[in-house]
């Protein structure tokens, strides 16, 4: 029982990282109906920027904010260069371009900084809190806290600000929103900025949690977060959170009970199962799958 709880606690940390990435996916998907393949790589860039800031002597929070800012700009730039020209093109072209951006970031970073794995300097004291036999590390607390704060900020932006309202309008019906005077281009830009900033935060958390930063680090978390987004219902922010947490806990349980080799396979198995039995995901709306 205690073993189970411990695995669930571990899963909670991993799951909230997935949730953070998945929220970015889901938001971008909501407004332009495109899987942003490069999302996981924005995460990687965020981790590198955070690492650079941390090495330059900035503390945890300034490094995090710097990484988020840099990636917000990067996200807007990606949208401008690779996605906006294809907004009315075929899906296949848009998706190809997205894959291109993803490869560009991965191998561009590899060419620039070598594939070497780097690690973060100690940014927070390494403590272990025991509570009723459960061990919670300071890293776990950092991840849970950061995720909670960011998600609350995001909820505020989506539901209480003008930009958030515009985002919701665009994701509901782009043409109608445009007719009602919403600036679609800047709204999509804002969505990319927000989503990418969240990815950057997740990137730093991944870097701190696994203590490894390398050019392909965004690949698996990116794919897993997509699974989480689909699991929760793509396009739904609470769904992405739920999906991320569920996926993280499932993975922790699978690896905790001796199946760590099959962790990735289980995640993709979940994806395919969900796509088959409930393509709209757990919290997805009953909208018809887009053609």
């Amino acid at each position: 029982m205690q073993e189970l709880l411990q695995q669930l606690v571990n899963g909670l940390s991993l799951g909230s990282i997935y949730a953070l990435i998945a929220v970015g996916y889901t938001m971008v998907y909501g407004v332009i109906q495109l899987i942003n393949f490069a999302h996981g790589d924005v995460l990687m860039v965020g981790a590198y920027v955070g690492l650079a800031a941390a090495l330059a002597g900035f503390g945890l929070v300034p490094s995090l904010l710097l990484a988020m800012l840099a990636c917000a700009l990067l996200g807007v730039a990606i949208e401008r260069v690779a996605y906006r020209p294809l907004r009315h093109a075929s899906r296949l072209a848009a998706l190809t371009s997205a894959i291109g951006v993803s490869l560009f970031l991965e191998y561009g970073m590899m060419a620039a900084l070598t594939p070497r794995t780097r690690s973060y300097p100690p940014l927070l004291p390494d403590r272990i809190y025991s509570w009723g036999g459960l061990r919670i590390t300071s890293k776990d607390l950092l991840i849970l806290g950061t995720t909670l704060v960011l998600v609350l900020v995001l909820q505020y932006i989506i539901y209480r600000t003008q930009t958030g309202k515009a985002m919701r309008a665009v994701s509901f019906d782009r043409e109608a929103a445009q007719l009602m005077g919403v600036n679609v281009n800047s709204t999509i830009g804002a969505t990319f900025a927000l989503g990418s900033a969240l990815a950057a935060a997740a990137g730093m958390l991944v870097g701190v949690y696994f203590n490894a930063v390398y050019p392909l680090m965004g690949l698996m978390p990116g794919l897993k977060a997509f699974v989480a987004a689909v699991l929760g219902g793509i396009g739904s922010v609470p769904g992405a959170m739920l999906g991320g947490l569920l996926l993280g806990m499932t993975e922790a349980l699978v690896s905790g009970y001796g199946g760590s080799m099959y962790r990735d396979a289980v995640a993709f198995g979940i994806l395919i199962f969900i796509l088959l039995v409930r393509p709209t995901g757990l919290l997805g709306t009953g909208l018809q799958e887009k053609a």
């Binding site: 495109l34 899987i35 260069v81 690779a82 020209p85 294809l86 093109a89 075929s90 899906r91 296949l92 072209a93 848009a94 998706l95 190809t96 371009s97 894959i99 291109g100 951006v101 993803s102 490869l103 560009f104 991965e106 191998y107 561009g108 590899m110 060419a111 594939p115 794919l223 997509f226 699974v227 689909v230 080799m261 099959y262 990735d264 396979a265 993709f268 198995g269 994806l271 395919i272 796509l275 088959l276 393509p279 799958e289 887009k290 053609a291």
Partner: protein, 322 residues
């Protein structure tokens, strides 16, 4: 009557000439080992690109699972030759059959999905296959299988490529192929016209998978060693780049893309990061400026060649492109 005869005979003569010349060159040692390896890579990539084009370009479904099917073919083939001791022909048949079965099992449920969902689902399936292979000790686990006898020679490769091209081309111009094109253009309309869309989507998927299986068997029996890692989705991306750059929905384009990108990656072998950066830029630029690839939907055909020659062009050298 005479035209029809030329239509059939001319490509056969060209194929025989190419086969004979290159075969002679290899036998006499004029084509060094280095060039042979590239030649084989080009051949294998042509098979991969052409069969992926059948799914992506002609039926309009983005599949990122080609590497997975290739892995199924490669491993099945190796089991047949090494563990069962049967000749290569059985390996090819078994590899293609196994990949086709995998394609059927995966295609039937997932082809209800469209666009991005299908892309991710196939990518997921490819990764599942890789993870399973990594953990299956009978097949060598993560170390893969090495010491595979090199039984694939120029004859095997060349006629596999030619056969693939001929079969895919004939399929596309058949009633069934046109049904696939109809599915690509407008699924709903095709359904309304009485086309069994599910059937044709699965059919294209199964045929494409079988082709990937063939490429896998050839690959395994030429390069001595197979590793699960080799068949990750990066390989699927590579093939996708070939198809996209060459031309969605054009066999000539796929061959062109396979040749171009194989040569490019050989030239840039020393700087693999740079190669991928270049691939990435090509993908983005092609997607934006030439969404149907360099060749578009055009095919290189005898009629086209004839017209060029009558215009006084010197297109003779390009005759073995498609």
């Amino acid at each position: 009557m005479e035209r029809k005869w030329v239509r059939l005979a001319a490509p056969a003569v060209i194929a025989l000439l190419v086969y004979g010349c290159v075969g002679w060159g290899i036998a006499r040692g004029l084509i060094s080992e280095y060039y042979q390896v590239n030649l084989f890579l080009i051949g294998i990539n042509i098979i991969l690109a052409v069969t992926l084009n059948l799914i992506n370009g002609f039926t309009g479904h983005l599949s990122l699972g080609h590497a997975g099917f290739m892995a199924v073919g490669a491993y099945t083939g190796v089991v047949v030759t090494m563990k069962l001791g049967l000749p290569l022909a059985f390996a090819v048949a078994a590899g293609m059959a196994a990949a086709a079965c995998a394609g059927f099992l995966i295609g039937l449920p997932t082809l209800r999905l469209r666009g991005d969902y299908l892309a991710i689902a196939t990518l997921g399936f490819g990764e599942i296959i890789r993870v399973l292979l990594e953990n299956f000790e009978y097949l060598g686990g993560a170390r893969g299988i090495s010491g595979i006898p090199r039984t694939v020679n120029w004859t095997w490769l060349f006629w596999s490529v030619v056969l693939t091209l001929v079969l895919v081309r004939n399929f596309i111009s058949s009633t069934h192929g046109r049904a696939c094109l109809a599915v690509r253009e407008n699924e709903l309309a095709a359904e309304m016209m009485g086309v069994n869309t599910t059937c044709y989507k699965v059919l294209a998927f199964v045929l494409g998978a079988a082709g990937a299986g063939l490429a896998g068997v050839l690959y395994a029996h030429y390069f001595y060693v197979i590793l699960p890692d080799k068949f990750s989705f990066l390989l699927s991306f590579d093939v996708l780049v070939m198809v996209m750059v060459g031309g969605l929905g054009s066999l000539t384009g796929s061959c062109l893309g396979a040749v171009l990108l194989t040569l490019l990656s050989t030239l840039l072998q020393r700087i693999p990061e740079f190669r991928m950066v270049l691939y990435a830029l090509m993908l983005i630029l092609v997607a934006i400026y030439r969404p149907h690839g360099l060749a578009g939907k055009r095919e290189l055909s005898l009629d086209l060649l004839g017209r060029w020659m009558r215009r006084g062009g010197v297109a003779r050298g390009a005759a073995h492109g498609g």
